[in-house]
């Protein structure tokens, strides 16, 4: 049976009781250009619905209505994978009546599929929908590419609502969201602002420190034999990660190496490598720029995948189970190689795992790239403020001044020590940083625990403290 089409949210709320369903989910594929979360939550504000449990896959600075609901005390708990901006600041300072749970991309999908996280209504921005409620993200006037983070929600929510500004007359033959899972389609004027949908982070760094880190990273990957025919690879969309990818592509061209797949967030740089025959497939859970979006629409080897297929360990087709190398960033690391990308050293929420700990725990080689110092702050602490990814999943930490190898990776260490690369212990790296910065005194955290970091095995990795 096709879904019910509504021409406004007001019409939708004639079908569903806004006061009855309080576990709400959203996806973040439209990033800072998203209109859907603010528009939907405005109705919850106006109707003074209290005790809301929100499950957005991420929270961006433009999600201002969420802040308003927080200030009005209408939100009981938040479960998400990443948050920054005013909402993150507010939660850090005030906490929630209930809990903040920071999941991973794979963990969120798993938790929804397992029914561990209950979703009453999933409000899903859908750039293009057909008459049967099938949807894709790579078509439409406000296209965003893959809808990977929305798939589990669409399949397991009590009520699935697509919000769209584009209804196609032709059927979608290979939808990311299946019409059979959709209950309502709400047609609005615009689901987003194109300027905010495309990430601004897809430039290859030319900063000398970033260039140096990337250069050392590629040299290290080469030394350990990771750059070989058929290898698989994931890097983020940050400038250093993209520089690593770019330098890898030069080596691959020289040696006529083809990678099997790249996964995760995809950019135009990855697309260019696909089109140059340097990689066989792109498994795309999130597009970072329009070049990636357009490629997804036209190239069969650029494959949109759900967050579950991406990183749910219970998914039999989990892509990252075959991942050879992942390049990840860090806000802090510690002497046990634990990584924090969730809070700053004051305990203020500035991000979250996303796929950080998912990929680190699966990849054969996990490389953390980061400057050894940011201003006066050294990267390496005795103990990170918040554990996002456990040190046992981290193999190499590459900074501009040296490379630290996890003590259990004696195989990697032996290979790296045969080169002229600056391999040293993590304690030595920390001492180098301290010779410039001194050893900073950790700011005290608040006593109240306002949230937890949960990995995809449902293990609680750490507590998040209220900002003091």
């Amino acid at each position: 049976m096709p879904p019910v089409f509504c021409h406004s949210l007001e019409e939708l709320f004639q079908h569903i009781d806004i006061h009855k369903h309080k576990h709400l989910s959203f996806h973040h594929h439209l990033r800072n250009g998203d209109f859907v979360m603010n528009t939907v939550l405005r109705h919850y504000r106006d109707e003074q619905v209290e005790g809301l449990h929100l499950h957005p896959s991420s929270i961006f600075p433009s999600y201002t209505m969420l802040l308003e609901l927080l200030e009005r005390g209408q939100i009981a708990s938040v479960t998400t994978n990443y948050l920054n901006g005013p909402v993150a600041q507010w939660i850090s300072e005030h906490g929630l009546p209930g809990e903040l749970k920071m999941q991973t991309h794979g963990g969120r999908a798993r938790s929804i599929i397992d029914g561990r996280d209950r979703i009453d209504v999933a409000y899903l921005a859908a750039p293009a929908v057909d008459a049967m409620g099938n949807a894709v993200g790579y078509l439409g006037q406000h296209r965003c590419g893959s809808l990977g983070y929305a798939v589990a929600d669409s399949q397991h929510a009590g009520i699935t609502v697509l919000v769209t500004d584009t209804v196609l007359s032709d059927p979608i033959t290979d939808p990311e969201i299946q019409g059979v899972d959709v209950d309502y389609v709400v047609i609005v004027d615009a689901i987003g602002d194109p300027d905010g949908i495309v990430s601004g982070t897809t430039s290859i760094t030319t900063h000398p420190i970033g260039v140096r880190i990337a250069s050392l990273t590629v040299a290290a990957l080469d030394a350990i034999g990771a750059i070989r025919e058929g290898f698989s690879f994931q890097s983020g969309a940050g400038g250093v990660s993209l520089r690593v990818t770019d330098e890898l592509s030069k080596i691959m061209r020289q040696r006529h190496i083809t990678a099997s797949f790249f996964s995760g967030g995809i950019t135009g740089h990855h697309v260019a490598m696909l089109e140059a025959g340097l990689v066989d497939r792109l498994y795309d859970v999130q597009c970072f720029d329009l070049a990636a979006v357009d490629s997804l629409a036209r190239n069969d080897r650029h494959i949109p995948i759900s967050a579950s297929r991406y990183a749910n360990p219970a998914d039999p087709d989990q892509v990252i189970a075959d991942l050879d190398v992942v390049i990840l960033g860090a806000t802090e690391v510690d002497l046990d190689f634990n990584v924090n990308v969730t809070t700053d050293s004051h305990g203020v929420l500035i991000g979250g795992s996303g796929g950080h700990s998912d990929t680190a725990s699966e990849s054969q080689v996990t490389v953390i790239v980061s400057p050894l110092m940011r201003g006066r702050l050294p990267l390496i602490k005795d103990r990170v403020t918040t554990i996002t990814t456990k040190g046992e999943h981290v193999d190499l930490i590459v900074t501009e001044r040296g490379i630290a190898v996890h003590p259990e990776r004696v195989d990697l260490k032996a290979k790296l020590e045969q080169t002229t690369l600056p391999v040293m212990t993590i304690e030595t790296l920390q001492a180098i940083a301290h010779s410039y910065t001194g050893k900073p005194v950790d700011p005290p955290l608040g006593e109240r625990i306002i949230g937890v970091v949960e990995d995809r095995t449902y293990e609680i990795l750490d507590n998040i403290h209220q900002k003091k």
């Binding site: 030319t206 000398p208 420190i209 260039v211 140096r212 110092m373 201003g375 501009e400 001044r401 010779s435």
Partner: protein
């Protein structure tokens, strides 16, 4: 003999702190053109404080302001008691070299950047405290009111002349920096040309230029392999002269191979 000489503005703490991570064989902490007049005092203090506390494993020079600038003596005295590798002296001429030599005991790298200095190059470089020469092509072409081009035809003669002077005096000739920051292809052509004319190294105004300069001015992989084979054969035969690949190898060639391997070791290539 250093391959790369990276200029670092003397008023940028983050770059100074990272001076030893860019892989440049030498860095030149700059108190001259990259530092505005109102910032000269602060730059002097910053460079002095940093060098007094930290030294990475690279050669460190300080470019002071020229002798007529009004900053000259304060620049010299700011770091004179520190273990720097020398001063880089802009707008060099024989009288300026004498003035600086009188004020300090450190080695001097003069920048040859006006027509008269080119003509006086031999007199400048032969001074015992002078350890080489840097071509400053931007100022030189400005003085001559000629266009500075990417193929460098306008400085071809000067490069050759300075290379001859420096080689005659057995001192390094350091080529002028490439100033188009993002044009690495242009840098590669420019540096290759300079090397073919006799430059032993090249100055750089951006850290991202260093790797390419090091590659072009350092021993190549094939040269290293050849040198290793020569030394292996020399060791195996124990003779003063022997044949390798149909060529006669004698002691000067063996010694050249030894120097090349030593340079490769210094540059972490072996």
């Amino acid at each position: 003999m250093s391959r790369s000489y990276l200029f670092i503005p003397g008023n940028t703490p983050s770059m100074i702190q990272s001076h030893d991570v860019y892989d440049s064989d030498a860095v030149i902490l700059d108190l001259e053109d990259s530092v505005a007049v109102y910032d000269k005092d602060a730059a002097r203090e910053l460079v002095r404080s940093f060098l007094a506390a930290h030294r990475g494993n690279v050669e460190v020079f300080v470019r002071i302001n020229d002798v007529d600038s009004g900053h000259f003596h304060r620049d010299v005295s700011a770091v004179d008691d520190l273990a720097i590798n020398g001063y880089v002296l802009p707008k060099a001429n024989p009288q300026a070299i004498d003035a600086l030599a009188k004020a300090c005991n450190h080695p001097i790298l003069p920048i040859i950047e006006d027509p008269q200095a080119v003509l006086d190059a031999y007199a400048i470089v032969r001074h015992p405290q002078v350890k080489g020469a840097i071509l400053g092509a931007e100022d030189l072409t400005k003085e001559m009111m000629i266009e500075r081009t990417s193929d460098g035809i306008e400085i071809h003669h000067v490069r050759s002349h300075l290379a001859l002077v420096c080689h005659a005096l057995q001192k390094p000739f350091i080529d002028t920096p490439w100033t188009v920051v993002d044009d690495l292809d242009g840098l590669a052509k420019d540096a290759s040309l300079a090397r073919s004319l006799g430059a032993t190294g090249k100055a750089a105004i951006h850290p991202n230029h260093v790797a390419l300069i090091n590659d072009l001015f350092g021993p190549s992989e094939s040269a290293i392999r050849d040198a290793e084979r020569i030394l292996a054969k020399a060791s195996e035969t124990g003779k003063g002269a022997f044949r390798l690949d149909g060529k006669m190898i004698d002691e000067p060639i063996v010694e050249k191979a030894r120097r090349l391997i030593a340079a490769a070791a210094r540059y972490n290539k072996r």
